[in-house]
């Protein structure tokens, strides 16, 4: 009341009609006829009613639908069509590159007990002990009568055991359905596949989780329901893998080696066609990790990926390729190989004395440490490091295995001249055989970097960054070919497949410091066919020793090379490579033609 304002008196009425000073034109006659206001009112009322009716109907429909939804019972949406029916297992298969199964699921049964439902717990325990010899009557009688309501008894039982438990007729013993991960090929490709175990489990189902290898890396991918069970296709070829493992295993026994590994890689795509490490294991029954002794002797240890070794003279081709690429030398340049070569307090020797001079080709063919060391000094530490880095020797391989990221190469912290010299022939830098295979593929395929992979690649490979020119790559291949025809790898000759490669023998470092005199790691790394390479092969034997030609032999030429040669003899026909017995394919011209084609 107090705050009420007084209405302000208007000064003048604003709506007073004003007579226009300029006369307006008269509007047309039709507008002048004013509509009957009653009719206009009726029409607008009709329109309003119509609009209101539309709203009413809309709201009624929505309301009825809401009512229907709230009144009806909730139901799971059904998968439409056949797409949904295709999903049968929780985890997709793993296949090789031709679709042959490497890992799949089968239905299995788990056994559990609910003691409060049991008719006669003592008899149940006795019956179970009769079916499962590892179950003790006392323990299970005690557990069944302890008042607990739930026990897992067995993760997987066979149909016969299930029938036997059924026949006991005990209502407190119940079965849960399971899917079991099965690796039908047993120990074949075990290090690649890894293994699987049960994760969270329930009486209705259990989750399968990968422990190692591709099963662990692709865990989410394999159990992704949106992929509708499409299998994971690896680059492995099952029959080649079987042949390679068979040869490698018998070779390891023949050479009295305690371990061995082999890698067969596509030289252009980096696909690992076959990779094995001995000793191996059965992924269906994966052993426990060794807790005593050397971790490197564990069957679970993948030597091809995790084992970092000094790979010896196989590195020489990198030094030579870089020297050729930089234009410091050509294949015929003579290198001073007078020995021993002194550097500070170190002396570098050759296995034999090769005389005062060798051509660059012969430095590779005869495997001269002194010659390679001199070439490396001319290259210099910085450029050598850059070259090795571009080949991937400074980081872990990106291959799709859980073990791979942990296997970093061991490179020296500082890089004095002596390191430049020793690394030029493969000592002082430790890397895995997979690093070596990748680097060989990158240098020899025409000179573009490849990335190692375990997944099958479709379509044309995309070339990586250029490492060396295709001309240098061809010259390097020709040199490696001569290592086989007239050098340290003479046992490597496989009729029809012109294999070229380099041997490497490195003394094993002893854990107490220094090197063993009588323990070596021998390596053969090469490619075939040399003039137009398709595959790279790396074979490594751990502590081989063989009595051949009247002597104890520990060098690669006598140990790793015969094994690698047998692998090529067996694997190359399986890979569909047609042998070429024409003598002309080995002429240097064939290499240059190939280099011109890839340019």
């Amino acid at each position: 009341m107090i705050f009420r304002r007084k209405a302000r008196a208007l000064v003048a009425d604003p709506f007073v009609p004003v007579t226009p000073t300029i006369p307006r034109p008269r509007p047309p006659e039709s507008v002048m006829v004013r509509e009957n206001p009653e009719r206009a009112r009726v029409r607008s009322e009709r329109r309003l009613k119509f609009t209101a009716g539309c709203f009413l109907v809309g709201f009624a429909v929505i309301g009825m639908k809401m009512g229907a939804i709230s009144a009806s019972e909730a139901r799971e949406p059904r998968t439409g069509g056949l797409a949904g029916a295709g999903i049968v297992s929780a985890r997709a298969d793993v296949t090789d590159r031709h679709g042959r199964v490497l890992a799949t699921n089968v239905n299995a049964v788990a056994l559990y007990a609910q003691p409060h439902l049991m008719v006669d717990p003592e008899q149940a325990a006795e019956g179970l002990a009769a079916i499962f010899p590892d179950m003790s009557v006392e323990t299970w009688t005690r557990r069944f009568t302890s008042g607990s309501k739930f026990y897992w008894l067995k993760g997987n039982i066979s149909p016969e055991q299930q029938q036997a438990v059924h026949d006991m007729g005990e209502p407190g013993l119940l079965f849960g359905s399971r899917e079991m991960r099965v690796f039908p090929n047993g120990p074949l490709a075990s290090h690649i596949l890894g293994g699987a175990r049960y994760g969270a489990q329930d009486v209705r189902a259990a989750e399968i989780k990968g422990i190692a290898g591709v099963e662990a890396v692709f865990d989410d991918y394999l159990s992704d329901p949106t992929r509708e069970g499409a299998p994971l296709r690896l680059s492995i070829d099952l029959s080649v893998q079987a042949a390679l493992e068979r040869v490698l295993h018998s070779g390891m026994n023949l050479m009295n080696a305690k371990g061995a590994s082999a890698i067969l890689m596509d030289v252009h795509t980096g696909e690992i066609v076959s990779m094995a490490s001995m000793p191996d294991f059965d992924p269906n029954d994966r052993p426990m990790v060794l807790t005593t002794g050397d971790r490197g002797d564990d069957p679970l240890f993948n030597r091809a990926v995790q084992g970092v070794y000094e790979l010896g003279s196989t590195f020489k081709i990198f030094t030579v390729a870089q020297s050729l690429e930089l234009g410091l030398t050509n294949a015929g340049t003579m290198i001073d190989t007078k020995g021993p070569l002194r550097q500070g307090r170190f002396r570098i020797r050759d296995f034999h004395n090769y005389g005062p001079r060798l051509s660059v080709t012969d430095v590779i063919v005869k495997s001269s440490n002194i010659g390679t060391a001199r070439m490396a000094l001319a290259i210099g530490a910085e450029r050598q490091q850059d070259f090795l880095r571009s080949l991937g020797f400074f980081e872990a391989t990106p291959v799709e295995l859980t073990e791979a990221p942990g296997a970093r190469p061991i490179v020296p912290q500082r890089w004095p001249d002596i390191s430049t010299m020793t690394i030029s022939y493969g000592h002082g830098l430790s890397a895995s055989p997979l690093h070596l295979a990748t680097a060989y593929a990158s240098v020899l395929n025409g000179g573009t970097r490849v990335t190692p992979t375990l997944l099958a690649q479709d379509g044309a490979p995309t070339p990586g960054p250029r490492i060396v020119s295709s001309r240098v790559s061809a010259e390097a291949r020709h040199m490696l070919r001569q290592v086989v025809t007239r050098g340290t790898a003479s046992l490597m000759e496989v009729e029809g497949y012109q294999v070229g490669g380099k041997t490497g023998t490195a003394d094993k470092p002893s854990p107490t410091g220094g090197y063993y005199d009588d323990k070596t790691i021998t390596t053969f790394a090469g490619m075939f066919p040399a003039q137009n390479p398709k595959y790279v092969i790396v074979v490594t034997l751990d502590e081989p020793e063989i009595n051949a030609a009247g002597e104890q032999r520990r060098t690669a030429g006598w140990t790793a090379v015969p094994v690698a040669s047998e692998i090529v003899r067996r694997a190359a026909p399986l890979l569909g490579l047609r042998p070429d017995f024409d003598a002309g394919v080995d002429a240097f011209g064939a290499y240059l033609t190939q280099a011109a084609v890839t340019d």
């Binding site: 998968t79 056949l82 949904g84 029916a85 295709g86 049968v88 297992s89 298969d93 042959r100 199964v101 799949t104 699921n105 089968v106 239905n107 099965v182 039908p184 090929n185 047993g186 074949l188 099952l238 029959s239 893998q241 079987a242 042949a243 068979r246 040869v247 018998s250 070779g251 023949l254 496989v494 009729e495 029809g496 497949y497 015969p562 094994v563 047998e566 003899r569 067996r570 190359a572 026909p573 399986l574 047609r578 042998p579």
Partner: protein, 145 residues
């Protein structure tokens, strides 16, 4: 006229109701059938994956290798080697059909093979000759292992 219209529309309503009722039942029946078929497809898929696993298990390279060695006398299978490749014109095609003479069927395996077969072909790097027993058959006639 009007009564006729009424009668016709009532008949139409009754007819349509009858049709809709039948249609509803048919739909539910079809839904049940679809669900049953989907379940069956699911079980078939299960069986298929089981059979695929079994196929993979029976065709594992180790088993095939051992079977090839067991039946070496009759099959003569050895690992593929580079000298097994040939040109198409090197293949000795069979003579024209008229000249083919009937051959005696080969003797059954257990007669052809003595107690012990000496394998002389090489496996691996210069393997020793291997002694291999003649094939043992399981109760159902399948060859082990």
């Amino acid at each position: 006229m009007r009564s006729l219209l009424y009668a016709l529309s009532i008949a139409a309503v009754v007819g349509l109701a009858f049709w809709a009722y039948g249609e509803g039942y048919e739909t539910r029946q079809t839904e049940r059938e679809v669900a049953r078929l989907e379940r069956e497809i699911g079980t078939r898929h299960q069986e298929l994956s089981m059979l695929r696993a079994e196929w993979a298990y029976l065709n594992r390279p180790d088993r095939l290798h051992e079977l090839a060695e067991m039946n070496f006398e009759s099959l003569g299978l050895i690992p593929l080697a580079p000298d097994h490749f040939a040109l198409a014109d090197q293949v000795g095609y069979p003579p024209p059909a008229a000249e083919i003479v009937a051959v005696e069927p080969a003797a059954p395996l257990d007669e052809a093979v003595g107690d012990i077969v000496i394998m002389t072909h090489r496996f691996g790097a210069d393997a020793e000759p291997r002694l291999i027993a003649p094939p043992t058959l399981a109760d159902d006639g399948e060859q082990l292992p």
